[in-house]
Subunit: 546 residues, 2 copies
């Protein structure tokens, strides 16, 4: 068994299933680029059968991130691009259509093997499950050399039955066998024993990679993943910041830094460049609108906070007294002052490119104009500010309705009032005033009056990007359309109302709030107007019955 652990990132698939984590195609592409720079081995880019939009997003990632950059030698290998498919020909075809453009494509198909799932969800008996797995893995293998199979809810499946299913999957051509603890139910001892049992009892497993995929419902995802690796797994399925449905998936940064910090004990390596961890964490948090709590391991704001402001009194000579990792190792830097109002376009471009952003000249122009505007107001512009304004200016959804002007009056006298001027898709500029319970409510009511797109605000959060009273405020909102589209969940095989996130940054938090809301509303309108998606949802609905 080799000592290299493959990192399989599913932020764009299982992570994006979190409520409100819906990302635009442009955002997904940027996250995929960041994951490639981070050094992940496999990017699970989505579930192409969910909708034509999902398929297209995976296809773009396969083409733009999954192939070697022009002119580069083949030694710098691009990541494997993987698409998820249920165990059906239609799903597998769609997934292949999306990933086949990658230099190294992978198909990932799954079927549940626990009694509870087979009985209540699949309504199939054991023999039917084994047959379906053999048939669909063989079908996928005819399309693609790299096929991964997952027995869903393996953590609650009978081990003897698992061995049989896995044996058949291997015979049918699966190259990676992924063992998911779908509901986050197992403990490290149990999960390690499950993997050890599979290693011991599955004929042919020695020629495959065993993968582990854990959920954090009991707070044990990282420990379970490490127990699986110690028992012989050589691929870990993880997400940035541990995002995902319910309590989320295993956090990439925790598994990687455990292996890294305790290397003498584990004697295992990964291909991850840990100095990118903090930046990718922030990128994903910005795009999904899912915040990272300060006491989150590795990437939380306080994880290295003991570094800052400590009154060195001569007693703490040895920094390992309370520190097992150096902040620099995960990309936490203390040189926060970067650019000021006198910085030119060249310095700005250089800094962005050092940070890993590849902007077109047009995008750079827009971002630079925003930078000058922010630099006029703030004394210093930090990396965090730059990240916020690039996210805000460059990776916005198609702007059907654009903010043309905003004026707000509020305070303790009551009657908070907002006047909003929007430029609509027809180019017309319209203005509306509204009174609300607060300035944000008033502004949102004014927008609702101009853009007839009924929705419910599910979440609203503001945080200051950087320290200091003049900080750039960042707002994320999440809305759900009242009569809009549903999205198909691959595992639950049912439709859920789709939610849309928006992000805005400005030194004026009311302006940022309005930008975030408009971004979410624009996303929702674009999604709802995509007629092809409706057809596909109907088609999938039919397929599920058979």
């Amino acid at each position: 068994m080799d000592n290299y652990v493959r990192i399989f990132d599913t932020t764009l698939r299982d992570g994006e299933q979190s409520p409100g984590a819906t990302m635009t195609s442009a955002e997904k592409l940027e996250v995929a680029r960041a994951l490639a720079r981070l050094g992940v081995d496999i990017i699970e880019a989505g579930f192409p059968a969910a909708s034509p939009d999902d398929l297209e997003a995976v296809r773009r990632i396969a083409i733009e991130v999954g192939t070697p950059p022009r002119g580069e030698t083949l030694t710098a290998r691009p990541p494997i691009i993987c698409g998820l498919a249920r165990a059906s020909k239609n799903d597998i075809d769609k997934a292949w259509e999306a990933v086949r453009h990658a230099a190294r494509p992978r198909l990932h198909t799954f079927l549940a093997t626990s009694e509870i799932h087979m009985q209540y969800k699949l309504k199939l008996d054991r023999e039917q499950v084994v047959d379906r797995v053999a048939e669909m893995v063989a079908y996928a293998r005819r399309l693609c050399e790299d096929v991964e199979f997952s027995p869903e809810d393996a953590g609650r499946s009978e081990p003897e039955f698992l061995y049989v299913v896995l044996r058949e999957a291997i015979k049918a051509g699966a190259t990676t066998l992924n063992i998911p603890d779908t509901v986050g139910y197992t403990t490290p001892d149990e999960f390690g024993a499950l993997i050890a049992g599979i290693v011991k009892n599955t004929p042919g497993i020695e020629n495959c990679i065993i993968s582990v995929h854990c959920h954090d419902d009991l707070g044990l995802a990282t420990a379970n993943t490490l127990a699986g690796i110690r028992a012989g797994a050589r691929q870990a399925e993880v997400t940035i910041n541990g995002i995902g449905e319910r309590a989320g998936n295993t956090a990439l940064e925790e598994v990687v830094m455990s292996l890294h910090t305790r290397r003498p004990m584990f004697n295992l390596t990964t291909g991850i460049d840990t100095t990118h961890l903090m930046r990718v964490s922030k990128l994903v948090s910005n795009y999904t609108g899912i915040p990272v709590q300060p006491n989150k391991a590795i990437v939380g704001a306080n994880a290295f906070a003991h570094e800052a402001g400590i009154h060195q009194d001569g007693m703490l000579k040895h920094n390992q007294t309370y520190e097992i990792m150096r902040p620099e190792t995960v990309g936490v830097t203390h040189s926060r002052l970067v650019l000021g109002k006198h910085s030119g376009r060249h310095a700005f471009k250089t800094r962005l490119s050092e940070m890993g952003y590849a902007l077109s000249e047009d995008e750079l122009d827009k971002a630079f104009a925003r930078f000058k505007n922010v630099a006029d107001k703030k004394k210093v512009v930090t990396d965090a500010d730059l990240e916020a304004l690039v996210a805000d200016e460059v990776y916005q959804p198609r702007e059907l309705y654009a903010l043309d002007g905003l004026q707000v009056v509020c305070g303790t006298m009551g009657m908070p009032t907002a006047t909003v001027r929007l430029r609509g898709p027809d180019g017309d500029v319209r203005t509306q005033a509204a009174v609300g319970t607060g300035p944000v409510d008033a502004a949102y009511k004014a927008i609702d009056g101009l853009v007839q797109a009924p929705n419910t605000l599910l979440e609203f959060a503001v945080h200051a990007v950087t320290e200091g009273i003049d900080a750039l405020g960042e707002v994320t909102v999440r809305i759900q359309g009242r009569n809009g589209k549903h999205t198909l969940d691959a595992q639950k095989e049912m439709e859920q109302p789709r939610t849309f996130g928006g992000h805005g940054a400005d030194t004026d938090i009311i302006v940022a709030s309005v930008k975030a809301y408009l971004a979410a509303v624009n996303k929702m309108i674009v999604a709802n107007s995509s007629a092809s998606e409706t057809e596909n949802a109907a088609e999938v609905g039919v397929m599920l019955v058979c």
Copy 2:
């Protein structure tokens, strides 16, 4: 060995050491009351030697939470109240002075036993460490029957040396031996083996309770704690939401729900009423200003989000398909509609008392006035709204400067302007206008002009309490005085600049922002003007040298 695991909550001691988690005495008392209702066995209420304020806060908890309510029988036992002390007579005396009023007091003393800590922090050799432990445990035992000892950084200590130190602590009278993984360095296998080694090799350990205390730097705190328990520990030291320095402590809710959900496997019980978990989580998050990420296990907003909005299509008949816990078990309720504008004072009081708040008539009057105000603006007032407004109205620090009026103009035209009117400690009302980079910046600048208390804004966060555009906005801020007080850290034995958190709730987020900032500034001014604390800090400084 019994099958009862004691839950030792250190939210008020190790949790409060998180940056910005500083709570007022009133807040600490309210958290202690909530912990008692939750059913924790031991409350570590603070580090009394840090300052007279800290001592007084622990003393109040010992008196008000650590004794049986008048008229109640002794069968309803109050929790043990514990105070932390370094291994010095002065610390132990101070801790005893604070906890001795409790029906069941405990003293907890500690000394580091890892080479790196002994050499760089303590500058003591092994023999000196053993002697100090024996002497100080014996000293504590003469004062109190219940004595806990912790070999700090046990996770990186040599096991053979640990056995010797623990043996001496037991001979000197320690009744609970706590094994901390101070830097969050161990893996479950290692930590379980450490506890098993202690069980096997420490003479006298069979008459003591072994305790485990883990940190989450690698995301393994819960798994390590459970591994320690399986190896024989019968006390777990934990915090609500896993708050604490760096990546925090083990989360109480994760350990308790792991034992609860997997009871047939663990065969262990706790005294926790799990239906209080969500409420205590929110209370601690509100008071400390430390948010809980949506994908946090058990208490995150998304942990049970699959429950909501699911388009039941007949396929998901069995709710255990994707669910290992019922939301009700941890206190997540779906009956969110509670009170409206026509609800009377009686209904309001009843609901608050059902929620576990015990308000005085005066506090109830204030809270009810606020409720009517909010109910006028919002259609329905939910439990979450009630919690926010009780936190905002009742448990505020002494208001030196009170907000008398606020007027704000902002928007895309630039020049955001705020006018603030404050009533000062002398009763005088003063008004100031300021322009800023945004409305919050402008308002904070106006306050700074009126209240000369230089500080740095470290953190600023807003979130909507409930769904819907007319949500009550909740703001938390954290500031650090420029020339203010430092606080003593028990373990690092050094002073850190003190940070102050503030909380404000209003349907107008600018008003909420101003309230939060004023609350933090008021806390800071009160703390800095407490002359006795300065004397004590000097005294502690002297003590550390000897």
